[in-house]
């Protein structure tokens, strides 16, 4: 990309880059959450994702800590299921999304969590997001999954947990910030850049300083 954001923030600041994958049943709002987070946008009608979309977003945790997410927004349709390992294999963190108005979507989320815990990086940070919280604000009877139930499950499984709304922005920034805070930032030394290549883990000894400037290819 010709215009990557200036990477390291201020001199002496910490910079880390992490791969994040979104998983969950179709239509729960994965793309909507990502677009809210990355572009602060929302569409009432969004077409189902075809394949997978790759986006990046950089956030500042504090004055001198910058975290860049490389985000894989996967397609929830069943026919893409076999491709999922390709996206979570090298992920540092995952957001597993369900729709609080659709009971079956939490079951699907749980099976993704299981798969991640079995197959993904051992240290992967997983967040569970119950999306579309705006829909129960006016009509509580639309809720199909109680907050307490999902929360209990999340605690048991060791997941971060948020009820979000891509539509109203509720908890979207908070979700990604909480993930960033849980990531092993302290391991990333000053101006340390994470490796862009897949398959290399995030130890500070990684001496790959592949530039993020124009044409790093």
């Amino acid at each position: 990309m010709a215009s990557r954001p200036g990477a390291a923030g201020r001199p002496g600041g910490r910079f880390a880059q992490f791969k994040l994958v979104l998983l969950g049943e179709s239509a729960v709002g994965k793309s909507s959450l990502v677009l809210r987070f990355v572009k602060d946008q929302f569409d009432d009608y969004r077409e189902s994702t075809i394949g997978a979309a790759f986006l990046t977003q950089t956030i500042s945790l504090d004055e001198n800590t910058t975290v860049k997410f490389e985000i894989w927004d996967t397609a929830g349709q069943e026919r893409y299921k076999s491709l999922a390992p390709m996206y979570y294999r090298n992920a540092n963190c995952a957001v597993v999304v369900y729709d609080i108005t659709q009971a079956s979507s939490l079951d699907k989320a749980k099976s993704w969590v299981k798969e991640l815990q079995r197959q993904a990086n051992e240290n992967i940070i997983i967040a569970l997001a119950g999306n579309k919280s705006d829909m129960v604000a006016d009509s509580p009877d639309k809720r199909a999954i109680e907050t307490a139930d999902a929360e209990a499950y999340a605690r048991e499984a060791g997941l971060l947990f948020f009820e979000t709304s891509a539509k109203t922005s509720t908890n979207v920034k908070e979700l990604f910030t909480a993930i960033a805070r849980k990531l092993p930032l302290d391991q990333a030394g000053p101006r340390m850049r994470q490796n862009l290549r897949p398959g290399v883990d995030l130890r500070p000894e990684t001496s790959n300083t592949q530039g993020a400037g124009p044409c790093s290819c």
């Binding site: 010709a2 215009s3 394949g51 997978a52």
Partner: protein, 623 residues
């Protein structure tokens, strides 16, 4: 005295017969190398709840209702049903796609830059036009001979052709304000059933897909409750003919033409009130079928039905209804690309295109199969291996996905999409990297999502690989391309070409009587057209396209190497001219005389000859 050129010159005819030689280039593909393992089959539908949470162009689950449409069957009589006998029911893709109608065989045979053509280099194709035009003064005016045929043109048409009168193209009008509106669901107590049905019947065009077992798979309009009756009738009729060893291809009923494309496990049905020939409608159905194959691959499709003939294909196709619908709607609006089975290129100076081609060549990595730069559905440049050609039908699917449907463009990032390109290989998946660029203010960067990119302005870099793990390497190819094309100011050149738009007919031929034309170069499988300026509204544009459809159907019923067809109506005078090298369709005002039309047609051909290397992508970057 203006005359059309004669291409009776044997030398030329020979030189240009290559695209139609039966030995099509794709037969040389080493498929085994590119075949990728099949993904596991989609699971059985367990619940359809997710369907409900999305405003759907497709179905809701509803019980089917009987006896809704008792009137429809009576209108179908055997007298206007055309049948043909099949030798066996299990046709293979190779024979089922593009092998039945004359126009669809171009789809199969015509490939962008077949190895043979690219070997001959950029300029050969240009030069080969020259003898034709040089000799045209010496040959007798074929146009004069052909033009007399217009008087009995109606007789030369096959009976199933819907164009029974030369004035009919004027009579069609689609109400585009309503044609694409969705039909309300039939509610529980069926109160609005009548309304739903009358709305359904008011549509000018329908596309439906059902399984051989009669399960609905897709409909452009209406929910299950509305269409189940129609589906039932259609399936009954089809199986009636099948049981007697014939296959129903088309029939007319209640002022609409029904065309059926039978595939091993699927029936695709088009119902059209606008005048299109059977072969044109069949081509549209084939495109829908290719879209299904593109999602599933042929072996997967076959497997699903061999495991369980009553499988519900909607589940594995879920989310691709929008792609089928955007294809269907482009056919309803009228698509020159589909009509001609050809692609359009962005007009660029040859020197500029050469720079872009060379950059694409330099960017290449081993995993790259095809690379394309496409501006609003128009080709800018293509890089491809010598032995693999690109099929217009495959590119049509890609362009539909990227430029007509919203999903990928609105995704706001880069995409990595598994897809099958059935013309290339119906058996396996390829992986497509897509990145949209924003070229505004010559400030090259990746498109930010807050900017709406108008369809015509969207520029995409498309990189196709057979390796599903090659996203990172495709992405670095893209980074290199963006960097290099920015440095050579090629992106600015592309942007300028987009902004300049298509020229007006009068820019091309000062003072011409032509309002519009389509020129297809057969060798390049590409077409050129001027801007639609005098056809701004969808309705006017559809009328124009209907004139082209009629010209196309009429001229293709003639059996000669050079064919000319002239038609006049209250709204236009039109001319079709087909030679082994090109097809030209011209439209002018109703009072335009033949000679004036012919004069302009000649001018168009001369202009194309001069501009060929700008308006067509010839050869491209081949490695």
């Amino acid at each position: 005295m203006p005359r059309l050129a004669n291409d009776g010159d044997d030398h030329n005819t020979q030189a240009h017969s290559s695209p139609s030689t039966p030995q099509s280039p794709e037969t040389t593909i080493e498929r085994s190398k590119l075949e990728v393992p099949r993904p596991p089959l989609p699971p059985r539908p367990t619940n359809l709840s997710t369907l409900r949470s999305r405003p759907s162009t497709s179905y809701q689950e509803h019980g089917s209702k009987d006896g809704l449409l008792s009137g429809t069957t009576t209108a179908v009589t055997t007298t206007d049903v055309n049948t043909y006998t099949t030798n066996d029911g299990s046709r293979k893709l190779h024979t089922s796609i593009g092998s039945r109608s004359p126009s669809s065989s171009t789809l199969k045979r015509g490939v962008i830059g077949s190895p043979r053509l690219s070997d001959t280099g950029d300029s050969s194709s240009l030069r080969s036009y020259v003898p034709q035009l040089e000799t045209r003064e010496e040959v007798s005016s074929l146009f004069g001979d052909h033009i007399t045929e217009e008087d009995d043109e109606g007789n030369s048409r096959p009976s199933q052709d819907v164009f029974s009168s030369q004035f009919e193209a004027d009579a069609i009008d689609i109400d585009f304000d309503k044609e694409f509106d969705s039909i309300p669901e039939v509610d529980e107590d069926g109160n609005n059933e009548e309304l739903a049905h009358s709305l359904w019947r008011s549509k000018s065009k329908h596309f439906m897909i059902l399984s051989a077992a009669g399960k609905p798979i897709y409909t452009r309009h209406g929910s299950d409750a509305v269409i189940s009756g129609y589906i039932g009738i259609i399936q009954t009729i089809i199986s009636f003919y099948q049981s007697s060893g014939t296959s129903l291809r088309s029939f007319s009923s209640a002022g609409a033409r029904f065309v059926i494309l039978s595939q091993a496990n699927l029936f695709l049905v088009a119902i059209s009130r606008i005048l299109e020939s059977d072969s044109q409608l069949r081509l549209q159905l084939e495109a829908l079928y290719m879209q299904i194959l593109s999602t599933l691959t042929l072996p997967n499709l076959t497997h699903i039905f061999s495991v369980r003939p009553s499988s519900d294909l909607r589940r594995p196709l879920q989310g691709t209804e929008v792609l089928l619908s955007s294809l269907a709607d482009s056919f309803t609006r009228g698509s020159p690309s589909t009509l001609l089975s050809a692609l359009e290129s962005l007009k660029l100076r040859k020197s500029h295109r050469d720079i872009i081609n060379n950059t694409l060549l330099k960017s290449r990595v081993d995993e790259l199969l095809y690379g394309l730069i496409v501006a609003g559905g128009r080709l800018v440049s293509v890089v491809r291996p010598k032995k693999h050609s690109l099929h217009p039908g495959d590119l049509q699917l890609i362009f539909n996905m990227l430029f007509e449907a919203e999903g990928v463009k609105a995704g706001g990032g880069e995409s990595w999409i598994p897809l099958c390109l059935p013309g290339f290989n119906p058996k396996g998946y390829l992986y497509m990297f897509v990145s949209f660029l924003s070229l505004k203010n010559n400030n090259i960067r990746q498109a930010a999502a807050e900017e709406e990119i108008p369809k015509e302005d969207a520029v995409a870099i498309i990189l196709i690989s057979a390796n599903k793990e090659s996203f990172e390497s495709m992405r670095s190819v893209k980074n290199y391309l963006v960097h290099e094309l920015g440095r050579s100011r090629s992106l600015a050149t592309i942007q300028n070409a987009i902004q300049a738009g298509r020229p007006l007919p009068t820019d091309i031929i000062p003072g011409t009587v032509l309002r519009h034309f389509l020129f297809k170069s057969k060798a390049n499988v590409q077409f050129f057209m001027p801007s639609f300026t005098s056809y701004e509204t969808p309705r006017l544009r559809r009328r124009l396209l209907s004139v082209y459809h009629e010209l196309h159907a009429s001229v293709h019923t003639k059996h000669a190497s050079v064919k000319v067809h002239h038609s006049v109506s209250a709204s236009h005078a039109a001319l079709a001219w087909v030679t082994p090298m090109f097809e030209l369709y011209c439209v002018a005002g109703p009072s335009t005389g033949r000679n004036a039309l012919a004069h302009s047609a000649n001018k168009v051909v001369q202009w194309v000859q001069k501009e060929e290397e700008r308006i067509f992508l010839i050869g491209g970057a081949v490695f």
